[in-house]
């Protein structure tokens, strides 16, 4: 008579299900960290698409930056990317610690002028930052892609 050894079918099934569940959980948590949670604005439009609708003017003169929101998308903040002669980049936020910067950013028709240190930069790019919300209703900022940046002459 052949001796039957090994796991019983019930234990094997339980093990199989447990392994699958554990692998699924691992993959889920790994993917959750990899894929960004969608940040939306207005009526649920992805904030990356809203960047297309942003319209603003930016100029730099005598150590001051001048900004004007000419579109219909509120701009929460601006970042300025400074390019040095060596090719190195540094980024600063506009209006930080300045009481003149509006609390909610530049809404429709909003304007701002303030001091901005250009340092030894040879080129400067102004990048809009928008405020959206996640699916869990958490407010989150989103810096628009570099293609939406505007170069300002120094």
């Amino acid at each position: 008579m052949i001796k039957k050894r090994g796991l019983s079918p019930v234990v094997a099934t339980v093990l199989l299900i447990a392994i699958v569940v554990i692998i699924a959980l691992i993959v889920f948590f790994w993917l959750r960290g990899t894929i960004q949670e969608a940040v939306t604005k207005f009526d649920g439009t992805n904030i990356q698409l809203v960047c297309n609708q942003v319209a603003f003017d930016a100029e730099y003169s005598a150590g001051q930056i001048f900004l004007s929101n000419t579109g219909n998308v509120p701009i929460y903040q601006f970042k300025v990317r400074r390019q040095e002669a060596s090719g190195a980049f540094s980024t600063v936020a506009v209006g930080v610690d300045d009481d003149l910067w509006p609390e909610g950013g530049l809404n429709q028709g909003g304007v701002y002028s303030g001091v901005l240190d250009s340092g030894s930069a040879t080129r400067m790019f102004v990048i809009p930052v928008l405020l959206g919300k996640t699916q869990s209703e958490k407010r989150e900022t989103y810096t628009c892609d570099d293609s939406f940046a505007k170069e300002i002459t120094i």
Partner: protein, 177 residues
């Protein structure tokens, strides 16, 4: 007799369909946000025109005409404090003088043409006055209008119809110039 073990065919189908539906819902929920919504913008024919201006001792009076094809309800108005300022950043809407003006009121950066927010219709003109605390060199005006968008009325800034008017108020701080 052949032993039948494992998940039955029906249960297999049910599981397969359930997984499919769950996955589809998850993917739909994520991709839904990438559907572009209608962009709000003003029609091409929106246009305002500074017909005339005059400077008082501490004020500026402007006559604005709607020379476009569409009704306009209000505008954003900014001024420059220096002749070489590239963008006007002095918000004049805060110093709108309701008493000296024909009609209108100001709120949150906007000046409305009429107190009841009714429109400045094509070819209509209106006189508005603003108090000044310093000399200004130019004005920038962006028309704004109410526009229907997916069952709601939205206030839209017409940035592409922006006008810039160079101002010469040499008599600032003295009598009428």
């Amino acid at each position: 007799m052949e032993s039948k073990k494992g998940v039955s065919e029906v249960v297999g189908y049910v599981l397969l369909i359930t997984f499919g539906i769950v996955l589809a819902v998850l993917v739909y929920g994520y991709l839904r946000t990438y559907i572009p919504s209608e962009e709000i913008s003003c029609p091409d024919g929106v246009s305002l025109f500074v017909q005339d201006y005059s400077c008082g001792a501490n004020s500026i009076n402007i006559t604005i005409k709607n020379n476009g094809k569409f009704n306009v309800e209000g505008y954003f108005i900014h001024a420059t404090r220096t002749p070489d300022q590239p963008i006007a950043t002095l918000d004049l809407s805060k110093s709108f003088n309701r008493v000296l003006s024909d009609d209108g009121f100001n709120t949150t950066g906007v000046v409305y043409f009429h107190i009841d927010t009714s429109s400045l219709v094509p070819n209509e003109e209106i006189f508005h006055s603003f108090d000044l605390d310093s000399v200004i060199y130019s004005l920038e005006i962006i028309p704004a209008r109410f526009q229907q968008s997916e069952n709601s009325l939205r206030f839209v800034s017409c940035g592409e119809a922006r006008i810039r008017e160079v101002i010469s108020c040499e008599g600032f701080g003295s009598e009428e110039s």
